[in-house]
């Protein structure tokens, strides 16, 4: 009898706990995004990495996912829809991906090799009925090595690259898999699919109101039990205006916002709102021209400009929400290496180097940089650029800021230094993501990436660096590859190729009731453990 009572009490306790938890989790999590439009929901999100964060990794999976639960370490690759992947020992362009069995799309259809092939055709085969140029536009620039694809069996696919590329698994993290069955069901129409999408992710879309909101609900049968969302419903709201976003949080209209304005942070803190931040693979730089007429070809000038900038002052200007850059990647990255050139604020040394390079008060150095008033990842460009202008003036460098629209700046980056769209600038202030080895190094610093083939805006062409980059891409042992990437980074810092200023730390603010958010060192964040408690 005693045992029975005990069991009953335990049952009651369990019931009470679980119902309490259920009640806590049943409150919707309302998120204020900085985007003014809901990122596309049909598979490949637009809206940059914010789109990947909110309608990509929430509703979909890639073959290879990112590990998003460790706030301290660098974010690494983990199995997603593929349980393992391996390059062929004999043919290093051939990759075999073993697919996870038992995964279902939100509509109940099976995920298998046919679905992988169908999705790759959706992106890269213009003749395929499911070809969607808008999704292609989002994905194509991120998986450039992919040449062909083939089904081996129901749960194995073979992907080949156009050259050996050890970084290929990173590229696969940008391709999401939509349900072929659902596309058929909605009449083979991607515009309709966007309103009734079906992926394999931990959330599924229940309601979409363009430009206003997307309501995502928990996918209880998600294949990874550890990532079944704690919150039953997550509502994504578009609030591009920073003050409105913070006001909406303060007035209880939302629970979680991205990029609170620095002026509001003391007040949010005072009212017990949680503020989180963490450095992530982002760099706020000046990419400078190495063309014939550019003063940037002189190493002393490059080092002097890097040494003239007071990064701590800029961080203070940003309310403490930035990390000083000592290179293209953060010091905590396995690719940082051991550069000899220490990037710090040393105006005396900067003046000395400029004098050695022949620039004096009578013959000052003038640099023209194209800047934008706003833009993705640009932080607060106007005050930051004006601060740098003042820093450079202190060492005798005239920095002329040419303000251009964000899209014009991006076009200049694509077209390369010296292009008419660049308005005679020596450089551009265009923030950059350094998430994976390809986007961090090869697409920016290799000779093969000069326009129109890549983002080597600078026309920096250095056979020594090319060799190191190729070595990294041809090294299939992960640790050894990271060592090569560290050498690449060491080299570019020692050559002071760019001006590296700060890394963003992605501040976020949330109500004291929001629990479970772990901000990792990445552009993408896991929203599955986040919920609003009572």
């Amino acid at each position: 009898m005693k045992l029975t009572r005990m069991k009953l009490a335990l049952c009651c306790l369990a019931l009470a706990t679980s119902s309490g938890l259920a009640a806590a989790q049943s409150k919707p999590l309302r998120v204020g995004m900085t985007l003014s439009e809901i990122p596309t929901t049909s598979g490949q999100p637009d809206g940059g990495f914010e789109g990947y964060r909110f309608t990509g990794y929430t509703m979909y999976d890639a073959l290879v996912n990112w590990k998003m639960d460790d706030p301290n370490g660098p974010t690494t690759l983990v199995p997603g829809l593929a349980t393992e992947w391996k390059v062929d020992d004999k043919d290093k362009t051939r990759w075999i991906f073993r697919l996870r069995k038992g995964v279902k799309f939100h509509d109940g259809s099976d995920f298998n090799a046919d679905a992988v092939i169908w999705n790759l055709e959706k992106l890269f085969n213009k003749a395929a009925p499911q070809f969607d140029p808008k999704q292609t536009a989002q994905a194509r620039g991120r998986i450039l090595s992919l040449r062909s694809w083939r089904k081996v069996d129901d749960y194995t696919v073979e992907l080949t690259t156009d050259a050996p590329d050890s970084t290929f698994p990173y590229q696969t993290t940008y391709v999401f898999y939509s349900s072929p069955a659902q596309w058929e069901k909605v009449g083979r129409d991607w515009a309709k699919f966007a309103f009734q999408p079906s992926g394999t992710g931990p959330f599924r879309l229940e309601r979409l109101v363009p430009r206003e909101r997307a309501e995502l609900v928990r996918n209880s049968s998600y294949w990874d039990p550890k990532r079944v969302p704690k919150s039953e419903r997550m509502i994504l709201l578009t609030i591009p205006e920073a003050t409105t976003r913070a006001s909406a949080l303060l007035s209880g209209q939302v629970d979680f916002i991205e990029a609170p304005p620095p002026d509001f942070i003391p007040r949010l803190r005072a009212q017990k709102f949680q503020i989180t931040s963490n450095v992530y693979p982002h760099i706020w730089p000046y990419f400078m021209s190495f063309k014939e007429d550019s003063p940037w070809r002189d190493l002393r000038v490059r080092k002097a400009v890097n040494l003239a900038i007071d990064r701590d002052g800029i961080i203070k200007l940003l309310g403490g929400f930035a990390a000083p850059a000592a290179g293209a990647v953060d010091r905590s990255s396995p690719w940082f290496g051991a550069p000899k050139f220490q990037i710090k604020h040393d105006p005396a040394e900067a003046r000395k180097l400029l004098a050695e390079a022949g620039y004096t008060k009578d013959k000052p150095l003038t640099l023209k940089v194209l800047v934008s008033p706003s833009g993705s990842g640009q932080m607060l460009p106007k005050p930051m650029n004006e601060y740098i202008q003042q820093n450079l003036k202190d060492v005798g460098v005239n920095l002329e800021l040419i303000t251009a629209d964000w899209e014009q700046l991006r076009n200049c980056r694509r077209a390369g230094a010296g292009a008419p769209v660049c308005q005679g600038a020596h450089g551009i202030n265009n923030s950059s993501a350094t998430v994976d080895p390809f986007s961090a190094f090869k697409r920016i610093y290799s000779s093969g990436a000069v326009p129109p083939n890549g983002f080597n805006y600078m026309y920096y062409m250095d056979p020594a660096l090319d060799t190191m980059i190729e070595k990294a891409h041809n090294t299939f042992d992960e640790r050894a590859r990271d060592q090569w990437l560290a050498r690449v980074h060491t080299y570019i810092v020692d050559q002071a190729i760019d001006v590296w200023v700060v890394h963003d730390v992605g501040p976020r603010a949330m109500s004291p009731k929001v629990k479970g958010f772990v901000q990792v060192k990445h552009w993408f964040q896991d929203m599955t453990p986040v919920y609003v408690a009572d």
Binding site: S36, E37, T40, S42, D46, G48, P133, K134, T136, A137, Q138, R140, G141, R142, W190, A191, A194, V209, P210, R211, E212, R213, L237, T238, I239, P240, E241, T243, T244, R245, S247, A248, L250, S251, G252, Q253, A404, D405, W406, E407, Q408, R410, N411, R414, A415, G416, V421, S439, R443, A449, P451, P452, N453, G454, F455
Partner: protein
């Protein structure tokens, strides 16, 4: 009257055509690529491929005629960003803007007319001074600044009204939507209210000094009847200003809609500009221009009704 209306409607056709050319040219003259914001991180080579796919590699005049031919059949194209037909994006946004504009007009115009009338009749008194100084403040105040102040006071500090959005009610005519509309409508109404108050005041003062008012008084008409005469005489001028202000409310609410994340045409336009979503941008600008043309047409007709001399001019 009918002939006059027909003539005015016919005038709008060349205006609409001219507007379409200006809209198209301005968008294409602006720096940037029509696809650059839509395609994300792609290099110049891939961008050229995509441009060809979407037909942006064709000569500009050809793109214009293709677009115009489609618009003439009611096809505004599809959004480059979302793939949705522009008309499906545009109509709900226009509905939201019109609803907000209607409330702002109701508040702004009625308050402006009443305040202006009072100030005009009580010229030189403390009431006139209060109305005039408030009107000057209203005209001088940027509406986006007022919007932010309203949010801080009524949402953040007092917690009475929502700070943003349109709510989640299924219909625009609901209490929840109304709650979301109050602050943006107030922010929008401030400037038109002030302008109309000043115009009405000036008109009333001018009319009160006219000889016919003296004559009416001499004939022993009550002040109430005189007010009616003055109002009737002030109406054409006030109507003209109201017409312009109403069109401004519909077309010029970009900043207020962005501050409040109100999903109207202003917000859509802002989005389309940043995304270089040409079909949406062209469709929205054309619609907003048509708002102006149509509002002017309606005002012209109303003015003719209020003062038949206008149609004979």
């Amino acid at each position: 009257m009918l002939y006059y209306i027909l003539r005015r409607v016919l005038y709008t056709l060349p205006i609409a055509f001219g507007v379409s050319i200006v809209v198209f040219s301005l968008i294409h003259l602006a720096p940037g690529d029509p696809l650059s914001a839509v395609v994300g991180e792609v290099d110049a080579k891939l961008l050229a491929d995509m441009r060809a796919y979407f037909g942006y590699d064709k000569p500009l005049y050809l793109q214009y005629f293709i677009w115009l031919a489609n618009v003439a059949t009611g096809d505004f194209g599809s959004s480059l960003r979302s793939g949705q037909p522009v008309i499906n994006v545009l109509l709900p946004a226009a509905g939201n803007t019109m609803t907000l504009g209607a409330l702002a007009s109701l508040v702004g115009f009625s308050l402006g007319i009443v305040a202006g009338m009072f100030a005009g009749y009580n010229h030189g008194t403390w009431l006139d001074k209060v109305v005039s100084s408030t009107a000057i403040t209203g005209v001088s105040m940027p509406h986006y600044w007022l919007a932010i102040i309203l949010v801080i006071v009524f949402s953040v500090e007092l917690g009475w009204l929502p700070a943003m959005g349109i709510g989640n009610a299924p219909s625009l005519l609901s209490f929840e939507t109304l709650k979301h509309m109050i602050l943006p409508a107030l922010a929008l109404a401030a400037i038109p209210c002030a302008i109309i108050a000043r115009t009405t005041r000036a008109c009333v003062m001018e009319i009160l000094n006219m000889e016919f008012v003296e004559a009416l008084r001499a004939r022993g008409l009550s002040e109430r009847r005189i007010v009616l005469h003055v109002t009737r005489n002030a109406l054409p001028t006030v109507l003209a200003v109201i017409g312009l202000q109403f069109a401004h409310l519909l077309a010029g609410s970009i900043l207020v809609e962005v501050v409040f994340s109100w999903p109207g045409t202003g917000y859509l336009l802002n989005l389309a500009i940043f995304d270089r979503d040409m079909p949406v941008l062209q469709g929205t600008l054309l619609l907003l221009s048509m708002f102006f043309v149509f509002t002017n047409l309606v005002v012209d007709i109303l003015q003719t009704w209020a003062d038949p001399r206008v149609s004979r001019a």
